[in-house]
């Protein structure tokens, strides 16, 4: 328990230090990371803990966002609440809309539940551009952050700290909810809701309550985005946002409380960093998701849990070579895939078509990639990714073998110990 508090304090301290250490651009990038982390954790209360896979969670995020923008513009622009308390408007919007939508959606479970949530989100997404008064049409609505409590909220750093405080507070509340009777019942709903009703529980009411609470915290996330952007339009209802929260949550791992936050923060940063570098970044995001689902369905946090367990059992020194080999394998396979994807992306692009036509028939001009020029017909161009791939597979195999030997050694050690212990009395 003490160790846990220690790590939380370290984490919070380093997040608080961000504006002092990193550039303004990175502080600006950290705000959406925090917001995505909160959104994913709010989603995970419904999806991971209560086992209800919602495909339309952008609806509650968006309702929270628009509630906030209206609260900011209320009273002739003075705002319904002081700026630091604005997310409460988002919370209220998310809670009310979550309760209404949840009442309908949780009438069914499984696939039907997912379809209803999808339909509700689509309904709002289709309706929003037409409701000019509420959602501001296609242009959306904008607002201004008012100074309050001695802060101007005019700088990125102030917005960052406001977001950080709200996200930390909400994550703490979401964690505490897992320790309450309702939080335990959420697990019961996931495991066997049929049995719950034969234990005397009104399962539908429990479901609605969990759905509404998840909607409320999603609404806070939406509110924080509005406070940060000072604007909102109907794009917040976009299905891609609903999809992103599902992907982020699963990439992070649903079984560890902060797993979804980790996944969301990483993927948001990935989008920020990689989308500038390449057009294929959505391909990489999709690949990452498919690979995580195929090879580590417990997500990145699940992988961390496994690694820590292995390190505890065999000792860090024994596991370190395997871990390094796995990292090397991952790095070389990633390099191979990125190289191929980028190369093919260039070769099949419109620009390249024009270039090769200009060069004359049958000519394949070289492609500039990673600072070198590669000829598509050249041997080396294809040998590099092939070599990287072989290297990756070899590293992977060696790492697996080393881990197996370790496990065998551990077993024979225990057997040897048992045999010695048996002999000793004689």
């Amino acid at each position: 328990m003490k160790a846990r508090f220690f790590w939380i304090a370290i984490g919070l301290a380093s997040l608080a230090a961000v504006p002092f250490v990193l550039s303004q651009g990175l502080v600006n990038a950290a705000i959406p990371m925090l917001i995505a982390a909160l959104f994913a954790c709010a989603y995970n209360l419904l999806c991971g803990q209560a086992g209800m896979l919602s495909f339309g969670h952008s609806a509650y995020f968006g309702v929270g966002a628009f509630s906030t923008i209206h609260a900011m513009n209320a009273l002739g622009g003075a705002g319904l609440l002081p700026t630091p308390l604005m997310p409460l408007a988002g919370a209220a919007g998310g809670l009310v809309f979550g309760a209404i939508a949840g009442w309908f959606a949780t009438q069914r479970s499984g696939t039907y539940f997912a379809m209803i949530t999808l339909a509700i989100a689509e309904l709002i997404h289709a309706l929003a551009p037409h409701l000019k008064g509420v959602f501001g049409g296609e242009a959306g609505l904008s607002s201004m952050r008012m100074p309050a409590w001695g802060f101007t909220f005019g700088t990125t750093n102030e917005v960052y700290y406001l977001t950080l405080v709200w996200v930390a507070l909400c994550l703490a509340l979401l964690y505490l909810i897992t320790r309450t009777p309702l939080g335990r019942l959420a697990l019961g709903v996931r495991e066997n809701s049929h049995r719950l009703s034969f234990l005397g529980y009104e399962v539908h009411r429990i479901n609605v309550l969990i759905f509404a609470i998840s909607g409320m915290f999603s609404g806070v996330a939406g509110a924080l985005q509005v406070v940060s952007n000072e604007a909102a339009n109907y794009v917040v209802f976009d299905p891609s946002l609903s999809a992103a929260v599902v992907l982020n949550t699963y990439i992070g791992g649903v079984n560890v409380f902060l797993g979804p936050a980790l996944g969301a923060a990483l993927m948001t940063f990935f989008g920020y960093a990689v989308s500038d570098l390449t057009q294929s970044w959505l391909l990489y995001q999709g690949l990452l998701f498919v690979l995580v689902m195929m090879f580590m369905p417990t997500g990145l946090s699940g992988l961390a849990v496994l690694a820590i367990a292995a390190a505890k059992r065999h000792g860090i020194r024994a596991v370190a070579p395997a871990a390094a080999l796995y990292l090397a394998a991952f790095a070389s396979l990633t390099a191979a895939i990125v190289f191929l994807a980028e190369l093919l992306g260039r070769v099949f692009s419109q620009d390249y078509k024009a270039l090769s036509q200009a060069a004359g028939s049958g000519e394949l001009p070289p492609v500039l990639l990673f600072g070198w020029s590669w000829s598509p017909a050249g041997m080396l161009t294809w040998l590099v990714p092939l070599a990287l791939m072989v290297l990756g597979i070899v590293c992977w195999r060696t790492a697996g073998g080393s881990l197996r030997r370790q496990a065998d050694a551990a077993v024979s050690n225990t057997v040897a110990a048992a045999v010695t212990a048996e002999r000793r009395p004689a």
């Binding site: 009777p181 939080g183 335990r184 719950l196 009703s197 034969f198 009411r205 429990i206």
Partner: protein
Amino acid sequence: MTQPILSLHDLKKSFGATEIIRGVSLSLMPDERHAIIGPNGAGKSTLFHLISGNIRPNSGEILLDGRSIVGKTPQAINRLGLARSFQITNIFPRLTVYENIRLAVMRAHGLQYCFWRFVNANRKVKQQSDQLLELVRLHPRAATIAGEMSYSEQRSLEIAMTLASDPKVILLDEPMAGMSKEETAYTTSLIKEVTAGRALLIVEHDMEVVFSLGDRISVLVYGQLIATGTPDEIRRNADVKEAYLGEEVAA
């Protein structure tokens, strides 16, 4: 004379054209252990589903403690004091044994929608959960994942969960199905012990269990009760011998 705690009057249920329960009347006394036997497909499990609110009867009346419970939801019937177990083990397989019991216990303490208090802070819930675990001798297994226990341990857990709401009437659907001889003997004594002072309605195939456990036995054949009586009366009943017990008891 005391009133029956549970009584069925001319209960009927059909699925489409198929009549499964064809007019069953039965009364269960407050501290009676009553066993229902019958060949496969006689409608024993359907009868349990009707009583516990899982499905609705086409006609007839079910009175629990003098009140009609026809058409009530399973959760409402549970809160009126009737708890059941299932033929196929029905627990929370990926949660710990303790968590399983606690979910069952919390309801009776009115902790349905509570999200402002910690569950660990509730001493009464903890105390009662511990007591139930002691009662079914699963205390050493409290931290085990329920789905990873042996079959008979899971059945014991299910009995404990059934007891958690302190019910007046307990319905056990084949609690010994799939158990070894030793496990059956152990579970029989366990059921005797934990159902003392409550009404028990039990469906079971193991005749040894039925005749040692039941104060009275009813025989259900093709949706109708052909006999109800003490174990001795049932043993001597000619209809029962012919319809169901056959050579087994005659020998």
